[in-house]
Each structure stands twice: as structure tokens, then as C-alpha cells.
Symmetry: C2
Subunit: 307 residues, 2 copies
């Protein structure tokens, strides 16, 4: 079995490729929940939803979030009730949050709820929230601290980030299902998601780094930075603000002691030796995933490394 | 001040007429919450919403419930998640239930929440839930007991009703706001709502009948039955199943000791003496409210009785 750590869009793309090649017993996806947030009393898990919607063929790839053919009628009325509506909850998407919140209220864990939601839309692969705890990411910026979604959506990633605080710490643990998946896996893949905002919240869970240190299989990370640019989202800006190189090398430095193989794009071939000097093997391939075929091809290349 | 007891559609029509003639200090509407129900963890108050939507000009008069120009996209996806979707929650309507549930979760009373919702859509008159307690109506039928909405919507009022159980009893009281409104009022109006399903749940609240007995002003009821037929809903069927006359007289008998004046339609003129013999005065007028003018005209006739 292979376990993948994923955030939102970038992770979901690779997961879609892998899910096309592996059956449900062979793939587990551990998803960041540091960006979960409650809106109007409803529990929203944006990264989990992006992964589920992507695997279910529901996702709106044009905008990179939510469900295709979405509408925003409920949100329009919420605004008329004086609610804050900076987080774009669509009518179709809302059903997910309503069901999730209802099942959580009934006493199910986020892991159980996620399984229900995934199965309902025909997703058979195991999608696991990183934790059943409340492990929110707090973004400390020059204009004050805020939740991930306040930073990401409300403030469009504009505030300069000073540091990130992860809700993992001593309090929140990976779920039992996540720990079991790691134990049973022969490969761990860090998907090309934002290292600071999507992968680090998972790594910050209490005991998770130790689990990785004890992990016997191969550990592979895929760079979300290609040619010095983030394919999506604020990774570029964040690397700069955190004082890191805005490059695949900058990302690789985050994963020292975490991964054995670092996968970079052909555009970044010249970084090979620098990354190798961090103590990792480097694999150079096409990592930009536009078409479905791109996703499957990258997944296939990664699976070959696992064998 | 005038206090009106109201259920859904019939009550809302008269309330609209009254609201056109009285300012916000002169009219308080006490609304049945016996048909409140939770769907997917969201608190739905159908009668309150019908009154608010009607006063706000939002209601879908063609179907008799909900908001005009409604859509059902969230509900469609809730169905795909395996949820029961027999209660038609529209996308626009859902915003109301989301806000209500959120504010209740925040600790506001249903009375406070209702005031927020009403004010947000420009309704200045005081719309009061009959109680802040959980005073649900249980319908005991030949096929078992069920909540009001299960009876009314899921089973389309088809099961034969044996008796009705009101959640008022010893536990639930009228809210302080309802009691204060009664104390300050010079007239109490029982709107032409279903006596069994809309008015009796209010009357069943602990202490409410005593409050009415002590009430010094005039008490006026309007028949929801005209020419032996209910203008809307299952009042006719229910009168029959409860062994009552399917007529304005049958309704009047429910209100013995409750009202001083019973208002009937011109079509029912021949019932005048029978109703008078119950110890009430009878006023004969046009009670069928189709147009807005009908509503205002009936409201005006009632207000003349109050003077």
C-alpha cells in the first residue's frame, strides 16, 4: 500500500493519477485539515473536499475549487441576513458541509464522516483526514494572526507571513487510521502541495515525524515549484516570506530528513546536484499536470520508484 | 396593541392585511412552533418563516410555502448523499435555516433569532415564536405517531389522525415576550389557521389558557372553514377525523371560552344562530383572502371590532 500526504489542488491532481493506477486497497490519501473552518456553524474541510470532488469527477477544474456547474443562491441570501460571505460556498458544495456537520453532531468522527461522504459519491479509495482533532493552522502575519481561510480567501494571501502555527503540537495526533495506513505502507508520497500550508500541518501532528523516521518504506516528495514558480497558489510568495529559495531546492530543504527521493521537473534539472547534496536522490521528470494523461504519467513514474 | 395567533399560510394572509394597517408598535404576531423540525441538524420553523416571508414580500404564493423563484440544488445533492429529502428545502430558504441554527448554537433564544431574521429582511412588526421551548406537535395516527412534518409533508396528511399531542404540557411555557404582548394588548385575534394544528399547539402551552381567561380585551377568531371547506390544508379532513362538524360551527366549538367574537364568511350566514348559542357574538363578512385588497379589507373589518 501507498500513503500519500495531500493538500488541495496539487495533491488532488497527483492522487487522481495514482487512483487510476491503484485499487482501493493499494492507496490511502492523508489530507490536511489545518485549513478546516466553520462557517455559519457548518464544518468545512476544503482540502478533503477538493480530493473527494476530484476523484468523483465533480470538481471545477477551471477555478481550482468547488464543484462544476456551481451556483451561489444560498450564499446570496446569507449575505442579505448580514452574514460574512467572503468564503464562496456554493449551493452544491453546501450539501457536503451540511451532511458533514450533521454526522459530526451525531457523534461520528471526521474520519468516519469523510468515508461516508466519499463512498456516497462513488470514491472507493481511502481518504483520511490527517486527524480527528481540531488541528487548525494559524497564520501569523504582519497585520495580525488569522485562520488559514482568512489568510487564503478573505485576504487573498496578501498579508506578509511572519510564521505559521500548526494546531498539531502536543494536542492533536494523527488518527488511528492514518497511523495504521503508515504502518501498512511501503511508500510514502508527499504530493506537490504547498509545503508550508498543506504538508507541514500534517507533519506537525504530534508523533507524526517520529512515525516518518520509523517508516521502513521509500519516502518520495514531488516539488510544487517548477521553474521557480508555483503552479498554483501562494507557495512562491510564502517561500520568499519564510526566507527560503523560491525554487524546488527551497522546497527540498523543507523535506530534509523527511524524504529519500525528491522529484523535480525537467525545467529544474540544473538543481539536481544541489538537492542531492541535501542527502536525497533526485528524479527528473515531467511534473506539470494539466491533462488527465499528465497526472497518470507522473503517477506511473512515481510508482516505478516505489517498486 | 393587538396580538394575533397564527399558523402558516392562512394566518400569514391575515397578518399581512393587519400589518398594512398597524405600525410595529401596534401588532404582535405569536406563531405556532409545534411544527418546527430539525433537518440535517438545521432548525426549521416553517410557520415562522411563512409569516416572515409573507410580510417581507418573499413568499411563493403560488405554492403556499417557501420563497418565490426558489431552486433545489443543495437538496439534490443531499439526496445523492443518501439523505431523506421529503421536506422540500430550497436553496434560498436554506439560508434562513442555516442562520437560525447558527444563532441558536451561539446561544440566542428562538425569539431573539426570529427577531434578527425578520429585521434582516425588513420586517419591523414583532414576530414571536410561541415559545422558546421545544413544544413539538406529535400526530397520533392509525399508522403510528409521527412529527407534524412527517404527517403533513412526508405522508401528505393521508394517515387518519386519532389524536394530537402538543409539546406544551407542563414543560413548555409561552415566552416572556408572548406573555408581555398579551398583557399589553387590547385585542387577541385567532387567525384563520387550522385550529387543531396551528392554534391548539399555542393554546396548549402551559398557562396560556389561563392567560386568555384573564385577558381583559376582546378575543376574536376567524373561521378557516368557509362553506364547509378548508381554504387550504387538511383542516376539513382533520375536523372529520376528530369527530367535529366540518364547518365554521365545528371550528367555533373549539373556541368556546376562548373567543368573544367569531368571524364567519357570508357563505356561512345560516350558521350564525348555532354559533351564537355557543356564547359568542358572530360577525359575518367576506373572509376569503385572495388578493392583497381582500387581506386588508378583512383586517380592517376585524380592527373595527377591536375599537
Amino acid at each position: 500500500m501507498i500513503t500519500v500526504l495531500a493538500g488541495g489542488v496539487g495533491g488532488a491532481k497527483l492522487v487522481l493519477g495514482l487512483a487510476n493506477l491503484l485499487n482501493s486497497e493499494e492507496l490511502t490519501v492523508v489530507v490536511n485539515t489545518g485549513d478546516d473552518e466553520e462557517f455559519y456553524g457548518l464544518h468545512v474541510s476544503p482540502d478533503i473536499d477538493t480530493v473527494i470532488y476530484t476523484l468523483a469527477g465533480l470538481s471545477n477544474e477551471a477555478v481550482g475549487w468547488g464543484i462544476t456547474d456551481e451556483s451561489f443562491r444560498t450564499l446570496g441570501r446569507l449575505k442579505e441576513y448580514g452574514m460574512e460571505t467572503w468564503f464562496n460556498l456554493g449551493d452544491l458544495d453546501l450539501a457536503t458541509h451540511i451532511v458533514r456537520s450533521k454526522l459530526l453532531k451525531d457523534g461520528l468522527s471526521l474520519t468516519e464522516v469523510t468515508e461516508c461522504l466519499a463512498k456516497s459519491v462513488g470514491v472507493e479509495h481511502s481518504i483520511l483526514p490527517m486527524s480527528n482533532g481540531d488541528a487548525k493552522t494559524i497564520v501569523h502575519t504582519e497585520v495580525g494572526k488569522m485562520s488559514f481561510q482568512e489568510y487564503f480567501v478573505k485576504n487573498r494571501c496578501e498579508p506578509i507571513v511572519r510564521h505559521l502555527e500548526f494546531g498539531g503540537g502536543d494536542v492533536n495526533f494523527p488518527s488511528n487510521e492514518v497511523s495504521s495506513a503508515l504502518e501498512e505502507s511501503t511508500a510514502l508520497i508527499l504530493s506537490p502541495s504547498n509545503p508550508y500550508l498543506s504538508i507541514n500541518p500534517i507533519l506537525a501532528l504530534s508523533g507524526f515525524r517520529e512515525d516518518i523516521n520509523n517508516f521502513k518504506g521509500i519516502k518520495i516528495a514531488v516539488s510544487p515549484i517548477v521553474g521557480g514558480k508555483a503552479l498554483k497558489g501562494p507557495a512562491e510568495k510564502l517561500l520568499r516570506e519564510m526566507g527560503a529559495d523560491v525554487s524546488a531546492l527551497g522546497v527540498a530543504r523543507q523535506y530534509v530528513d523527511i524524504c529519500d527521493v525528491f522529484v523535480i521537473d525537467k525545467q529544474d534539472t540544473e538543481l539536481t546536484n544541489d538537492i542531492k547534496s541535501l542527502g536525497m536522490n533526485v528524479v527528473v521528470t515531467d511534473t506539470v499536470m494539466n491533462s488527465k494523461q499528465d497526472k497518470v504519467t507522473l503517477a506511473k513514474a512515481i510508482l516505478e520508484l516505489c517498486e
